[in-house]
Amino acid sequence: MPLLEVNNLRKIYTTRFGGNPVQALSNVSFSIEKGEYIAIMGESGSGKTTLLNILAALDKPTGGEILLNGNNISLINEKEISAFRRDNLGFVFQDFNLLDTFSIQDNIFLPLVLAGKSFDEMNDKLKHIAKKLEISDILLKFPYEISGGQKQRTAIARALITNPQLILADEPTGALDSRATEGLLKIFSEINDEGQTILMVTHSTKAASHAKRVLFIRDGEVFHQIYKGTNSNEEMYQKISDTLTMIATGGGRNE
């Protein structure tokens, strides 16, 4: 059974004063197996972010279903949805979304504290993760005192600390310089090698080239997909950019 199954997902936004409804997702279907590392690419307005929000249970689909481990997440009621999100999903955002009132350590602890874990338990988990992400030295600092790369690693640590089934990353490299991007992608590959399933939405060909599979979305539909297979990152990069060129120039299906 796949870890995540998305079937015929639709999302239509209607504006308040009876304006034209906007179709953000028209018919999206795909599935993710456990341990996969998937990148979703597409131009601005193609529906990437809408898809991610629906996967994150932050938004409700107009039609279709999402099954996580066979459970339809659209059917989870409002009360349990936050706990569900906390226990099953980890988030990494473009703008990090760290709370500036918390130290780095407390930012990472946040989901665990909400889940009611004890300090000792949290601390054990943190030590392990902080070492892996090389943020052990900055744990007591505050978000405004550290670099973008460090912030993003903090956000990853916060996503990982709950051992989620799936990590959802929204343009994780968007606000990083090239070195920090390199570091982040390395971390993603490493945690994926350890068995963590990752779903990443990105603009960046470079980021996508690290994924094992890349889905292309256009006009609210999955338009195309590429498997990395045994290709190197460079070969994958080439393949992706060819596909993007083709999409941009309006070519037909690459099959």
Binding site: L58, S82, A83, R86, T101, F109, L114, S118, F142
Partner: protein, 659 residues
Amino acid sequence: MNKLFYPKLAINNIKKNSKMYIPYILTCIGTIMMFYNMYFLVLAKDIGSLSEKESLRTLLFLGTVVTGIFSVIFLFYTNSFLIKNRKKEFGLFNILGMEKKHVASIMFFETLFISILSILTGILAGILFSKLMILFLFRIINFEVTFGFEIPIKAVCYTLLLFVGIFTLNLGYNIFQVYISKPVELLKGSNIGEKEPKTKWILTIIGTICLGSGYYIALTTESPIAAINIFFVAVVLVMIGTYCLFTAGSVAVLKVLRNNKKYYYKSKHFISVSGMIYRMKQNAVGLSNICILSTAVIIMISTTISMYIGMEDVLRTRYPRNIIVEDTDISDEQAVQLDNIIEKQTSMLDVNIMNVSRYRSISIAAMQNDDSNFISAESSSYISKNMSMLLFVTIDEYNKMENKNLSLSSDEALLYVASGDIPSNIISFNNFKLSIKERLDSLYSEKRNLVALTNSYFVVVDSIETINKIYDELMIEDGDMGELSYYYGFDVNADKDVQIHLVSSLQNAINNSGINAYAEGAESSRSTFLSIYGGLFFLGLFLGFLFIMATVLIIYYKQIAEGYDDKERFEIMQKVGMSHGEIKKSIQSQILTVFFMPLVAAVIHLAFAFKVITKLLLLLNLSNIPLFAICAVITIFVFTIFYAIVYALTARTYYKIVS
């Protein structure tokens, strides 16, 4: 460019920021109206027809000055808050190609429109309400109002002058703010400076010491006369303490809580404690302002109300008998003459004298330096709590007034303790000693209030000579004791007008006879008391209302500022896995704490000030402590309800911003 470009832009800006500007304009109108009304009352012709116009006018003028000063501070404070929140907007104008002078001219037009609108409306509303105000004041002081309507030009002019001045000051400040800042900084505006506040231990300690010593002074002051001087010191100390503890103390406490891992890492405390640290940093000054204003409102309203309600008590304390004739230095013959005058005048008006209390005595102020020893009082020692008043009466006089038949030898005395304590059975006046033969537990005539201000003792000795000896012992300067004083108080069974008439005819007769005595009556003084206590009551309500208005506005702006700050945090928490309900609960508990803390602190301040306030009220002849306590409790209750309503209303605006 179109001439009307800037005025139009200015109007648009005000409309766009209506959430902030409407309350600001309303407050301006309110303040202007109140200032006009207060000044109107000072000048009003109707007040001129009162018998106590001078004291009432002084009181009202004081109110005008306070209102004026308060307006300046308060409107300046509000304006600076507004401009801080609009920096981003001005940064945007800058980047879009406007020069600073253009921004300045937009600001000029904004200020122009706001000031014209609020000054015109304010004065107009003030004029409309002025009759109501004077009706209300006269109702309080029980005085008939004449018909007619007046608009003192002077009041209008001064109101115009003051508020044009305030608006100009604000405009100057705003333009200065824009000129000293760089566009990029303007764009970031209020978002910069999100550093974690440092724990300021020194400030915390200073605050604790100030508050502690303020409280200590308030609790340990025994003498009402000392209370006058020391009350001010205590108020200043408590104010400093409040500011320090709200700014530094709160952060220190929260950080201690944060360092307690077991407490901190609980989902209930985790978000609140860390959030509160930042909230306190941004709000501390505003909250201390609210706290001090609330304390002022509660104290002002509860004291003035209790004085107004307790006026009958005050009159009774001040005038134990309906009519009192008194002279401090009078010979025996003159005293007899005085008796005759009283008898003649009362019989002429055909009223019966009852409950007569009359005696010849002398009062000497002395220091009670240990249990039973009195020494001479120096003038500087009047504020000491050991200050005592000794009233000496001869045994003959005592027997006459109490209708008894006692005798004393020259080293014996009878003692009645009105307030204070003399534990030993020997009283000494420097070197002169008397043994107490009997302690009197009541004194028929002694309803006259020696009680209030200092320790007071009523000492009966055998003869004038003994009094003379004591006088010599206790007086620093040499000099003859002179004659004794004479007190003659009595009740009459006549109505108000007759009593007033009797007092004036008594005074006339006394003056004609060449005696220095003066006659007073409770009824004759009632209108004086009413106009002063009623005036104070009116002032208390008026200023209380003004302060409440200020408190409301500060709370409102704080809520809005909080809302914009919390919006982002709210979103992040939701993504990390907090439910809408959890976030709402957490934020609500933080905001509740933040906004009700000043009120709680104000009540604590009042609790500590209670004793010293009762002492001050004693000076004003109000000894009815339960009455004051009830008034204080009711005031707090009403104020709390009011505060809660304001909170609930502004909280709605807050939630609208956040979600």
